[in-house]
Amino acid sequence: MSSGVVQVTGELIANRRVGAYHHLTVVAPGVAEPAAPGQFVALAVGGPTSANLLRRCFSLHRVKPSGTYGGTVDVVIAAHGPGTQWLTALRPHDAVDVVGPLGRAFPLPSEPVSCVLVGGGYGSAPLFWLAETLRERGCHVEMVLGAASEDRLFGVVEGRRAADAVHVTTDDGSAGRKGWVSDVLGEVVERTAAGVVYACGPMAMLRSVTEVAQAHGAVAQVAVEESMACGIGVCMTCVLPVTGADGLTRMVRSCVEGPVFRGDRVRWDAIGDGISRVPDDAVGAPRPGGH
């Protein structure tokens, strides 16, 4: 109640296709007002007869705290399994049950430093709002947007408006430079003398973004994507190993202590192949002969 999280039955007012994605605008009073870039919403799927109980989480692309319809939130969804297929098939005026805003936002620098924002696929969705917020604070902002192919890039045009420069890569070379975001990131960080690199996208990308940022003396702030059952901190399914300020590694909930983490705090050595392992040195790790 105090925290500003609400649950509301929203109304879809727009659902437009953008490349491989769907861009949804939902009237969700109370969600937009307290939200900040990097936070997400959890949407119920399937309606009253649904066999899919668990909510689906999506980064806030943009919010409009007020307007013709009351507060709205925008999300960008890749249709994948049953939940995202159901959401992307919704039509205007359909009801959408929204819980949000959730999670820890991207921390903003107190000084007007140079920043690089890196998005992989739909991972770029929250970065344009972040870019504008940073530029309002006087930061120089460049973006690196990457995807497998052109249709999976999101927001290149929007990026040109929101940021000082946009660099594009695709795996197949169908747009921008052929290759990965990490191939161009080092140069951009170096040239702009960036202090912070913000990133959102697949885990493997976040790991290399962290490495590149570190190599060039920047701090990485990465928004991770762990499978979430509740999104609100009660189920403990969304954990990953993160080292705290005290130097100890714990399995922490990415839905409340994340999804944004300092890249150098994430124990990438324990993450891969779709699994987040428990490092042997983690607090409470299983010990031989007992848990």
Partner: protein, 319 residues
Amino acid sequence: MADMSTTLAGASLPNPVMTASGCAAGGKELQRFFPVSELGAFVTKTVMRDPRSGRPTPRMAETPSGMLNSIGLQGPGIDAFCEQDLAWLQAQGARVLVSVAGNTAEEFGEVVERLVASPAWECVVGVEANISCPNVANRGLVFACDPVSSERVVRIVRGRVPASVPVFAKLTPDVTDIVAIAAAALGAGASGLTMVNTLLGIVIDTDRLRPQLAGVTGGLSGPAVRPVAVRAIWQVTAAMRAGTLASAPVIGVGGVRTGRDALELVAAGASAVQVGTSTFNDPSAPRRVLTELEAEIDRHGFDRFADVVGIAHERMARP
């Protein structure tokens, strides 16, 4: 408006709706959606002696009308739990049912000892012994799959909890004869039973062709399992009514999403109801279920919730 109060082996609660262990964390998270003190009781995640990291991820798989979880009892350990979570719950005015477990029967005892000694003990209205967890001393076999292990744990826990505070044994439905396990737990002094914990399940990731959970097996919960929970509650209640099992209150849990679902468990014999997985769908579910259950009791014209407990045993169709 019906009188919704319920009594569980001496513990009087203003209403019969609770969270389910492991589905509401320590309370702070749900407090953002409703005051946890409005529930009959708040059930904590199972706490063990030492801090535990839990299992690797993926820890969950969605299933038709349910989910699998394999958290591995992650938690801060009993000391940190008492200092932080329990103290916070006490400050909110919540009535707390503390879920405890151990790797061995003796460890259950240690956890309970420290709990009883905690400054926040006063807010505790009951202890739930989660015996549906692996017994390290017995090839990792779940305590509640074996009457002897169940009895041993319950005896130790009961011995260390003051007599004024009830002890509930939480049973797994994954047994051939749940009445036999109930008898063992009650025989060892349990004040009541919580039924049911999750069913053991596996989901295969059909892209990777490997188990979806890093820990291979997980616990199945949610509306999908409700008929199994109702059946377990029914069987144990029927045995109590037949006099072949000592009478004791049952806390029902398994697949409750609405007030009607709760009413199913109550009519089958539950004196209180916990709401677990549905909380992930609707963060206000436990509170909403209370409102809906009240409305159901009113709709049926009963004055007291207590009059509906086990009522289906009296209304059986006689074919």
